[in-house]
């Protein structure tokens, strides 16, 4: 083993050592840098959108520019931030350590995934050179096959990033199946690993369908093969079926890892074993399984038959049950615990708060007769921001703070971190709660301009977006300040029980001095 003080960061030097690294921890750091950069770009687009909607009529940009902002915000946040976010950063870093492995099963494939993500991102963003894209991130036909040529780059880029996602998922499944240390049975793996496992299954099963759909879309746009083009006898609604067959499960690719993070945070900061380990683990699998049969709830008004609408409404209701179980179990975990309000715990509680609202509004949208009114209005926009931003991004922030000492070996300023929570939490609700009301009142989504009745609520929403921005800036400052302050982190600052806290901070290149062996569950707080 290496000299004292050696770790995965200082064991090799130079940019090249990072770009050709096969160490899962270093690859995770590559993802940190790229995902945060994409998040910054997508966030700027979001602020632009809100600024434009500050009042009716054109304020700071024209309709075409707005539509491109809207498309880039969606595509970047979905394909480059939320889908790779938690699995690629924290999954890569901690999945092997949590199950007592020295690396993921296929380290080369792992590095390739990162390069594919970067390549796909560059191809996507290069669409700006071809008049940009203004189709929205859903690329609905026939609009997308008649518009600017940029849509070709954008969809090819999404296809490549999809390959990256497939390979990451494949890698994780094999790692979990084959690389667990002695005693680490499937009943002893942390719930974050269970969540990643369910996520990986969806990534492997659903993403290829998106792949072929986007390839057909490119063929449609380049050669006019007509499968989705009504002018050539094709069926534009078939595209929607294909697209949502991937993209609804993809919603769970985005949220399941976040749920896994929350399970870790709640037990650690309540110092208590998780309530209902089995139920939480299997509910992840249940969500993954049902997610493949609910895509039609995006299409209640698309012209699909009434029977199809009802069946999809029913199946969608079923997803609600495992989701509810998780939420109740988290709250029950806090019962008779020893709760400390560290910044990560605040984000976990913030998650439960906004995710509950996102969840109940999800049930409203699953109710077929109700969705006809809400479909494609701001109600939907508010709903999915409550689950995606309020859910996934809150979990991501919580995870950043929780694992910061382990990943970088330093402590951060707790007060600053809490301040970032206050701004993000308040800003988030100020931004998106008014959008529920706007949607109920009928304001459609993807609107550059709106009738004057909607002005006040839009104005509140825009002001909220500034608070969120301040919150994230404070978060960034917290992270950077921690690097500058260089306060050394102990191996286990939070008193957590999972394996990653038994090794030094930051870990050595091979994670463990010798292969660990475990004899009990991951949350033995007694």
């Amino acid at each position: 083993m290496g000299a004292a003080g050696e770790n995965y960061i200082n064991c090799a030097k130079g940019l090249k050592s990072w770009l050709i690294t096969l160490d899962h921890k270093r690859i995770a750091i590559l993802y940190v840098i790229s995902v945060l950069t994409f998040f910054f770009v997508g966030g700027i687009a979001a602020l632009g959108i809100r600024l434009e909607l500050f009042s009716p009529g054109p304020d700071v940009m024209n309709a075409d520019t707005y539509n491109q902002f809207m498309t880039f915000h969606g595509a970047i946040m979905v394909f480059m931030v939320i889908i790779p976010g938690i699995p690629a950063i924290f999954g890569n870093f901690f999945l092997p350590i949590m199950i007592g492995a020295k690396d993921v099963a296929f380290p080369r494939l792992n590095l390739l995934s990162w390069y594919l993500l970067m390549f796909g991102a560059i191809v996507s963003i290069s669409s700006l050179l071809f008049n940009g894209v203004d189709t929205g991130w859903t690329f609905y036909t026939p609009y997308s096959i008649k518009g600017s040529a940029g849509v070709i780059n954008m969809t090819l880029g999404a296809f490549i990033m999809g390959m990256s996602s497939v390979l990451t998922g494949l890698n994780f499944i094999v790692t979990i199946h084959k690389l667990r240390c002695p005693g680490m049975t499937m009943k002893n793996i942390p719930l974050f690993v269970w969540a990643l496992y369910s996520t990986a299954i969806i990534q492997v099963l659903a993403t290829p369908v998106l792949g072929i759909t986007l390839l057909l879309l490119v063929a449609e746009r380049v050669m006019g093969i007509g499968i989705f083009d009504p002018a050539l006898g094709g069926d534009p609604v078939l595209y929607q079926h294909f697209f949502w067959f991937y993209s609804h499960p993809a919603v769970y690719i985005m949220i399941l890892p976040a749920m896994g993070v929350i399970s870790e945070l709640i037990t650690t900061y309540s110092k208590k074993t998780i309530f209902g380990y089995t139920a939480i683990a299997y509910s992840s699998l249940a969500i993954a399984a049902v997610s493949f049969f609910v895509w039609g709830h995006h299409m209640f008004v698309s012209g699909q038959s009434e029977v199809a609408g009802i069946v999809f409404s029913f199946l969608t209701m079923l997803v609600g049950v495992p989701t509810a179980i998780k939420t109740f179990n988290w709250v029950a975990t806090m019962y008779k615990g020893s709760v400390t309000l560290k910044s990560s715990m605040l984000f976990a509680m913030g998650f439960i708060f906004v995710f509950t609202i996102g969840g109940v509004t999800g049930i409203m949208l699953a109710t077929a007769g109700m969705d006809v009114h809400f479909h494609d209005t701001y109600f939907v926009v508010a709903h999915f921001h409550y689950v995606m931003v309020g859910g996934t991004l809150f979990a991501l922030m919580g995870a950043i703070y929780h694992w910061y000492p382990k990943m970088y070996g330093y402590m951060y300023n707790e007060l600053l971190a809490k301040l970032s929570f206050v701004f993000i939490f308040i800003g988030f609700n100020v931004t998106f709660f008014p959008q529920f009301i706007l949607g109920a009142n009928g304001m459609p989504r993807r609107y550059f301009d709106y009738i004057p009745e909607y002005t006040e609520l839009n104005r509140i929403s825009t002001m909220g977006s500034w608070l969120i921005a301040i919150g994230f800036v404070i978060g960034l400052v917290t992270i950077i300040q921690g690097f500058i302050r260089k306060e050394k982190a102990p191996a286990n600052p939070w008193g957590s029980k999972t394996l990653e806290w038994t090794i030094q901070s930051p870990p050595t290149h091979h994670n463990f001095e010798s292969t660990p062996s475990v004899s009990g569950g991951p949350y033995e707080y007694r």
Partner: protein
């Protein structure tokens, strides 16, 4: 027999066997993604076939089932030689393994040549997908049939080409002594891929060529 290099497994695996099992599982998972990709496209085609049966029948008349059947036999035979290749490498019979793989490669080549003949004759009659269709046949939506035909067979043909590339790479590595009775993961992985390519064709052939 001389220079079979002993394979050293990567540091994060317990043993060579552990590594072999893990790699094989990875390849199988990748096959699952392939099946889903082809599955989605086939599903699209099946919907088309159910909603426009007349068009599908009219389109299939332009396809020669003789060519299709010949190609099916070629691919089935290539699967046999592929399996033999894996069998021989596990016995350290590297020459025999290379000959078997060579035959597989040849079968792939024959398949692609037949495909080329089929494509050129269709293209010369203007039987092209979607907007590029110029044939005089005015069956409603006939161009759509050819969109599906080219997408399905094109994607499959691409897989055959990739498979051929992989086989060639494996043959070179066998020549360098990378594989033998103690390590044949790569050969088996490529073998699994090649069987999948074969399997997809077994679905494509009746669905495209034998429309009643």
């Amino acid at each position: 027999m001389s220079t079979v290099k002993t394979h050293k497994h990567a540091f994060h695996f317990d043993s060579a066997d552990h590594e072999y099992e893990s790699s094989k599982q990875g390849v199988w998972l990748f096959m699952v993604t392939e099946v889903l990709m082809f599955g989605a496209l086939l599903m699209g085609y099946m919907i088309f076939k159910v909603t426009m049966p007349e068009t599908a029948r009219a389109g299939a008349e332009y396809l020669s089932w003789q060519f299709g059947a010949f190609n099916t036999v070629v691919l089935l035979f290539s699967s046999l030689t592929m399996a033999l290749g894996i069998y021989y490498i596990r016995l350290d019979k590297r020459k025999a393994a290379q000959i078997s793989l060579g035959l597989t490669l040849l079968c792939g080549l024959i398949f692609m040549c037949v495909k080329y003949i089929e494509y050129t004759s269709k293209i010369s009659h203007g039987l092209l997908p979607g907007a590029m269709f110029t044939n005089a046949n005015e069956t409603v939506n006939l161009p759509l049939y050819f969109s599906f035909y080219y997408c399905l067979t094109g994607l499959h043909g691409l897989h055959v080409l990739i498979g051929m590339g992989l086989i060639a790479w494996i043959m070179i590595r066998i020549g360098k002594g990378h594989y033998g009775s103690n390590h044949w993961t790569g050969v088996e992985g490529v073998g699994i891929f090649w069987h999948l390519v074969d399997l997809v064709w077994i679905y494509l052939f009746p669905l495209l060529y034998l429309v009643e």
